[in-house]
């Protein structure tokens, strides 16, 4: 199974590298990949339908408890088949759709990378590796959506999609980490046994919320849905594959996968029902106002995803069966509708439903596919769609509370989806063919056979639902429910409420199809509400955030060095002051200090005055001279306090510094009084506070006892071991000689720097 998952990646990388050498053959080479995978997964059906669960584990990063462990059960098989099956068709379709495209090899690379990621995601039994694949789907979809990267709209949609799904991904990561930590394992199959402990833990709510965030953003639930219509900028194969059949279902998959672990709570049920319900209705209503075929399909997809979430929220066996069935149904009809739309777009050059009509004359097989797709979509018997719709109503009716609100919502949604299916699948083909489309030709088979295959499957399954039931639905339910009752998928359930609802759906839907003619007027009408759409709100929030970011960044990084210094010193003083005044008593033990003497005081006072003179002098040269006095006073202090080496060094260095200053100074302009007085006072206060804190610190440290172990060692051994009597020098060249060596390196580098800084003048020809 590892190879099955990695195949997509391996192929992606190899086609990127050797793509040039197989030019012209990429298409069928590529199509072989999903096809062989499809065959591979189909071969598991017998085992899985017997209730077996196949697990394979490859060690990856044991330190993190991260393994590449795969679990093939009913649920993952259902998704795998969908991914590889539709994948095969989409790959084949692409070969014609993007025939001769300059970057076809890249496209296939992204597509197969995506497929690999998707397979990895649904097969993973390890939460972290699931997340790894989850993120890879986001990234590969980023590349796919932005495939037409010279178009601004494409890039924007790609970024939006990545932003939303990336955020979702990180929420997933958060949830995964928390859940893994709580359960003590990242193995999903091991968590099922711990479900009760997990749901009763205090971090359950956080975990659930994070998982919801991940699933909702990936599966385009309200209010995160808006990236999906935008993502329709991608080439049709991408829309088909990612945005109807597979990637958007990843969120659904996540919710299904964790239903047995996290799903047994009120929070879970109510959140999913509400969010799913709102999404399905909100998106369904939007359909009425759209004229772009892809837009209609996008909103109907969102709505369908809402239904799925809604069903998972209901969480009963019936609901989950309905969910699984509807996943298949939706994949079949929505993928075909997208492919059909692609053909129409490809051949006529437009997707505007108000302009399309009568195409059945020129595109007959496509029209058949469209019609069948519409039937499946509308749940018209005897298609598989009918079974799906029927089950949804049943699930709603049997749920218990708020039945009519739930069922009413479902009904309205299904009616509008019925309408959408017919607008997309039937409307372009009926009526009078406009003259401009008369030259339209039926494209090559690779384009119209895939949708036809899909719809045929949808019809066939309606007649033999138990095929799907035994192979996929039953094993799937086994995974989702801890205890299951036997059930059978049937077309005919007898006369019951669900049937009445179905009839209403079809009747009202058909009526709507004839009454509600899509028009640009309606589209413009809805655009007025654009301001309050989640997309716009998010956009506004993003803008606001950008403005805030700019303000924040420019506030701190405003370009003024003194602002930076003041911030740092202010911060330092604040915290130091806090520590000092909360912990210290400010009393001092004066007995430990030495006496004042006249000469010391005189020198110190001179030093202090010279410092102040340096600070307040209006003349630079006087300030420099004053620094000379400071240095001299330092020299004397060092002398008084037994540091002759320091005294010498300080004085020599000061003299050299004065020389440096003097050499440089006359090239510089004179002082100007530049700072405002307020600022000077502010800075003065800040400096004084800082200085005072340092004084207090010094006095406090001086009260602490002295530890002279090292000093005594030096004193004892300076002559005996290191053969020197000037202990300071012995420390410098022996005990701590490395310091000195590096210190001389500092000097060297400084000299090199000075040399380079003054001698190196880049000429224009050097400036690159």
């Amino acid at each position: 199974m590892l190879i099955a998952v990695l195949l997509g990646f391996i192929f992606a990388i190899s086609i990127l590298v050797i793509g040039k050498f197989v030019k012209g053959k990429q298409s069928w080479l590529s199509t072989l990949i999903p096809l062989s995978l499809l065959a591979y997964f189909l071969s598991f059906i017998p085992q899985i339908s017997k209730g077996e669960i196949i697990q394979q584990t490859y060690s990856w990063i044991p330190s993190f408890n991260v393994e590449l462990s795969f679990q093939l059960d009913g649920l993952s098989l259902l998704f795998s088949l969908m991914i590889t099956g539709i994948g095969t068709l989409v790959f084949a379709y692409t070969s014609a759709y993007l025939k001769g495209h300059e970057f076809l090899d890249r496209f296939y690379a992204y597509l197969s990378m995506f497929m690999g990621a998707m397979l990895g995601l649904v097969l993973s039994d390890n939460l972290i590796s699931m997340f790894v694949f989850w993120e890879l789907t986001s990234i590969s979809s980023f590349y796919l959506i932005g495939f037409n990267n010279s178009s601004l709209a494409s890039r924007k949609s790609a970024l939006t999609a990545l932003g939303i799904t990336g955020m979702g991904g990180l929420l997933f990561l958060g949830g995964a980490v928390l859940l893994g930590e709580l359960a003590g394992t990242f193995q999903i199959s091991e968590m099922i046994g711990l479900a009760d402990e997990i749901t009763s833990s205090s971090s359950y709510v956080l975990i659930a919320v994070l998982f919801f965030g991940a699933a909702f953003s990936k599966s385009a639930q309200f209010p995160f849905h808006f990236w999906l219509p935008g993502a329709m900028k991608a080439p049709t194969p991408v829309s088909t594959y990612l945005h109807s059949a597979t990637m958007v279902k990843a969120g659904i998959f996540l919710l299904l996968r964790f239903t047995p672990i996290l799903g047994n709570t009120e929070l879970w049920h109510s959140t999913l029902i509400i969010v799913g319900g709102v999404t399905m209705l909100y998106a369904a209503i939007h359909i009425i106002f759209r004229t772009d075929l892809k837009g209609i399909l996008a909103y109907s997809t969102i709505s369908a995803l809402g239904i799925l979430v809604f069903l998972i929220g209901l969480g009963t066996q019936e609901a989950l069966i309905a969910c699984l069935v509807f996943i298949i149904v939706h994949a079949l009809y929505k993928a075909s509708l997208f492919l059909i739309t692609g053909i129409i777009d490809h051949e006529t050059g437009t997707r505007d439903i108000t302009q399309l009509a009568g195409l059945k004359k020129v595109l007959m097989p496509v029209a058949i596919a469209g019609f069948l797709a519409a039937l499946i979509s509308g749940g018209v018997p005897p298609t598989f769609g009918f079974i799906g719709k029927d089950l949804i109503y049943e699930a709603g009716l049997n749920w218990g509370s708020y039945t009519w609100i739930l069922v009413g919502g479902a009904l309205l949604t299904k009616i509008l989806l019925y309408y959408a299916g017919f607008v997309a699948g039937v409307k372009p083909f009926v009526g009078q063919l406009p003259t401009k489309f008369e030259n339209v030709h039926l494209p090559e088979k690779r384009l119209w056979i895939p949708p036809l295959v899909l719809v045929s499957l949808g019809v066939v399954l309606g007649f033999v639902p138990h095929l799907a039931e035994t192979a996929l639905i039953a094993p799937g339910i086994e995974v989702l429910m801890t205890s299951t009752e036997t059930f059978h998928l049937k077309l005919w359930h007898g006369f019951n409420t669900a049937l009445i609802l179905s009839v209403i759906t079809i009747a009202v839907g058909t009526l709507l199809y004839f009454v509600l003619i899509p028009s640009h007027k309606k589209e413009r009408f809805i655009e007025r509400f654009e301001v309050i759409s989640p997309k716009n709100i998010v956009l506004k929030i993003t803008e606001g955030f950008t403005v805030f970011s700019t303000l924040w960044t420019n506030f701190f990084q405003n370009g003024f060095l003194r602002h930076y210094v003041a911030t740092i010193i202010g911060f330092l003083s604040l915290v130091l002051g806090y520590i000092i005044f909360t912990n210290f008593d400010l009393s001092l033990d004066y007995s430990s200090f030495s006496d004042l003497t006249v000469y010391e005081v005189a020198i110190v006072l001179m030093m202090i005055t010279a410092i102040l003179f340096t600070v307040f002098s209006r003349s630079r040269l006087a300030a420099v001279a004053s620094m000379g006095i400071v240095g001299f006073a330092f020299c004397l202090l060092f002398l008084f306090y037994s540091a002759p080496d320091l005294a010498m060094t300080q004085f020599s260095v000061d003299t050299l510094t004065v020389i440096l200053f003097v050499l440089v100074l006359y090239r510089l302009p004179k002082y100007l009084k530049m700072s405002k007085n307020v600022l000077r006072i502010e800075h003065g206060v800040l400096s004084i506070i800082f200085g005072a804190l340092m004084t207090i610190l010094v006095l406090k440290v001086l009260q602490e006892p002295v530890n002279a172990e090292i000093t005594d060692y030096y004193a004892q051994n300076a002559y005996l071991l290191a053969k020197g009597k000037n202990v300071v020098n012995v420390i410098l060249v022996d005990f701590r000689g490395i310091d000195t060596l590096i210190e001389t390196c500092v000097l060297i580098v400084a000299a090199l720097g000075v040399f380079g800084l003054l001698k190196l003048r880049l000429k224009t020809r050097d400036k690159k």
């Binding site: 990084q557 370009g559 003024f560 060095l561 003194r562 210094v565 010193i569 006496d595 004042l596 003497t597 005081v601 030093m607 410092i611 600070v615 300030a623 240095g631 330092f634 202090l637 008084f640 306090y641 037994s642 540091a643 002759p644 320091l646 060094t649 260095v653 050299l656 510094t657 440096l660 440089v664 100074l665 510089l668 302009p669 002082y671 100007l672 530049m674 800075h683 400096s687 800082f690 200085g691 340092m694 004084t695 010094v698 006095l699 000093t711 004193a715 005996l720 009597k725 000037n726 202990v727 300071v728 410098l732 000195t740 210190e743 500092v746 000097l747 580098v749 400084a750 000075v754 800084l757």
Partner: protein, 117 residues
């Protein structure tokens, strides 16, 4: 005496920071030097001061027989002085060069690198 020296240390820190906060590059460098001196004095003071007893072993003996000042802070400050000298010289030249190229010694006008470019 320590109190007076501690106050001097504080003044050196304060003066250094105040000068760094001015707009002229020359003041900036004077501030850096003052700050460096403040730090040296702090280390010196915290190594405890001893009057008139340099850490030099008398000619006649092989070890100290009398009190002596702690040589370690002295060695540290010496290193720090040398390093500061290197840094200061570099800073002085940097300022000179900056003035030549930027035609100003007003630090407030050095803010293009923080703007979007």
């Amino acid at each position: 005496m320590e109190i007076l020296l501690a106050i001097t240390t504080g003044i050196l820190y304060a003066a250094g920071i105040y000068m760094i906060l001015r707009r002229s590059m020359v003041k900036l460098i004077l501030g850096l030097i003052l700050l460096g001196n403040g730090v040296n004095l702090l280390i010196f003071l915290l190594g405890r001061i001893t009057k008139g007893k340099p850490p030099i072993i008398p000619e006649e003996t092989k070890v100290f027989e009398d009190l002596f000042a702690d040589p370690v802070p002295q060695a540290l400050i010496l290193t720090a002085i040398v390093i500061s000298f290197g840094l200061q010289s570099f800073a002085i030249i940097l300022v000179k060069r900056a003035y030549k190229v930027l035609k100003t010694d007003d630090l407030d006008q050095l803010n293009t690198t923080d703007e979007d470019s």
